[in-house]
Symmetry: C2
Subunit: 328 residues, 2 copies
């Protein structure tokens, strides 16, 4: 069943529910990054959001909109980690239990954090088990409400609040036209930001950014129908490896987004190092992929200014150390 569409009013309503709790992340920049990219680079560091990624926005949007009696029975979510932490924290701050279904190969830090944020964690095998099926079964057994990571209008509306902030902050910075590069898995953040910018900053064009080998959204936008990835592992960008574009985000991205950008993993490591040195923020590989495109694939971008959403920072020490080794 195709979920109902998302409107700008849904995003503004989510923004009101989020207002008392969300962290309004600043727009960062550095003359050193401008020099690398050959144009002005503005970075929206959602790694600074609660639980270290934008996922808190969608989770809070969905959980805060539930009927209190339904919410009290508890929440369930499945996620490679960032949605998990966002849901666990949003549920805990609402005082309700949460169960998170996670792939057993998710970074240890993400699993540990999700547990420490108060959730019960159920692990599954990413190659051989279907997370949707596991989630649906647990939800039905325990009366939990399933919060899907992107095929859920309230979640897309929540992610869209990041786009409202980008629109306002770009206007403050005097930017009327720019490519907005967004790290893209299922497309919840990408489509939400695109809807917000359509309303509030129509000169800003969203471009989904994906890892080499997991470019399902890019290929789907080219072919005009939902294309799947052949594999579910093999990129360091674990946060944005998903089987295919979500059925809710896809038509929104078709209508509003420019062509996708496909980035090799090694450029994500370099972007993590650049963000460390120049912006003083910590990014995970999937959270650095839009910045990687902005800095190291400038020929794929148009205009005097590029905006890169840095979507998350939940990275283990060994992977971050590996990224720092790419520092010139």
């Amino acid at each position: 069943m195709t979920p109902s569409p998302v409107s700008i009013d849904d995003i503004r309503a989510a923004n009101e529910r989020l207002a008392p709790v969300v962290r309004r992340t600043p727009l960062l920049s550095s003359p050193f990054l401008d020099e690398i990219a050959g144009r002005r680079v503005l970075v929206k560091p959602e790694c600074l959001q609660h639980t270290g990624s934008f996922k808190f926005r969608g989770a809070w949007s969905a959980i805060s909109a539930l009927d209190p009696e339904v919410r009290a029975k508890g929440i369930i979510a499945f996620s490679s980690g960032n949605h998990a932490q966002g849901v666990a924290h949003a549920a805990a701050r609402h005082g309700v239990p949460s169960v998170i279904v996670m792939p057993e190969d998710a970074p240890a830090l993400k699993i540990a954090n999700t547990r420490a944020l108060g959730a019960e964690v159920v692990l599954y095998d990413r190659e051989n088990e279907d997370r949707d099926e596991i989630g649906a079964r647990l939800a039905s057994e325990r009366g939990l409400t399933l919060i899907k990571p992107f095929d859920e209008p309230l979640v897309v509306a929540g992610q869209g609040t990041c786009g409202l902030e980008i629109a306002a902050q770009a206007a403050e910075a005097g930017v009327e036209t720019a490519d907005v590069l967004v790290c893209c898995g299922g497309g919840g953040l990408t489509s939400g930001i695109a809807l917000a910018l359509e309303a509030d900053a129509p000169g800003l064009r969203v471009r989904p950014v994906e890892p080499v080998g997991f470019d399902d959204v890019t290929r789907s936008l080219e072919s005009g129908r939902i294309e799947r990835n052949p594999r579910m592992s093999g990129s360091i960008c674990d946060a944005i490896v998903t089987p295919a574009p979500g059925v809710l985000p896809f038509p929104i991205m078709q209508r509003l987004c420019g062509p996708g950008v496909v980035v090799p993993d090694e450029l994500c490591l370099r972007a993590m190092a650049a963000a460390f040195t120049r912006l003083k923020i910590v990014l995970e590989p999937g959270g650095a992929i839009a910045l990687a495109a902005a800095l190291y694939m400038p020929e794929t971008v148009e205009g005097d200014t590029v905006i890169a959403v840095a979507s998350g920072g939940n990275v283990d020490v060994p992977m971050f150390t590996k990224a720092l080794e790419t520092t010139p």
Copy 2:
């Protein structure tokens, strides 16, 4: 000669000059940090400020207030690195030249950045040469205006704008009383924040935080007169190693600040790792010392909430990697 005192009106005027350019850094938090400290921890991440430290505030405040004809002749500053970068960037954005006198043992990254930001760098020997004398000579020879790092009312007023933001953000967070821990070298940031909080948030009490062996401010506050450090090197907290409290900041700190806190270097490394894992920000050792006190010396702090200013993030990869090795 003792400089003229600084008033809250000077800070508000600096805030107006800074408004179009300053980054209003958010107030960060994490339930994991609250658990370590045993109380609520709020972190003001000035590492996210332009040039990676709060120093941009004071530099912009001073340079923007100069007579345009005087400013056009150029600026000079002496600094272990963060003031250098702040001055170089603020001068460049005003379109005027700058000369920075830096110790030859400053981190390579800071020296390189200062040059890349457009400044001419003059190196000196921290143990055997007097930076004030070098700065004064160059200033007189070339007609440059010297911007001192803390004994300058316009600079203290600029750093005070960080305190105006803390006052507003603490009120938004519902915090009326708290210790505000501030990384302290000469006392420019500490005294500026203290003046701002006196006016806008009188329930917040500033506490200077210093490295073991370089606790000149703590000892001066105890003795009631300016005490000097026996050495000028030997801590990893290079950004806050200064000979003695500034003559301008000291009486302000005497009037407004609580007792100093003295922190061993190894706790700064642990705080850098905690800020990496929990806040997704990059701190240098001296920039992490207030957070280190908040997290690992909780017995020195009073109240349900502690606010830690994280003053800078200009750290080399080897030092940061060393900090990450302390991750449990």
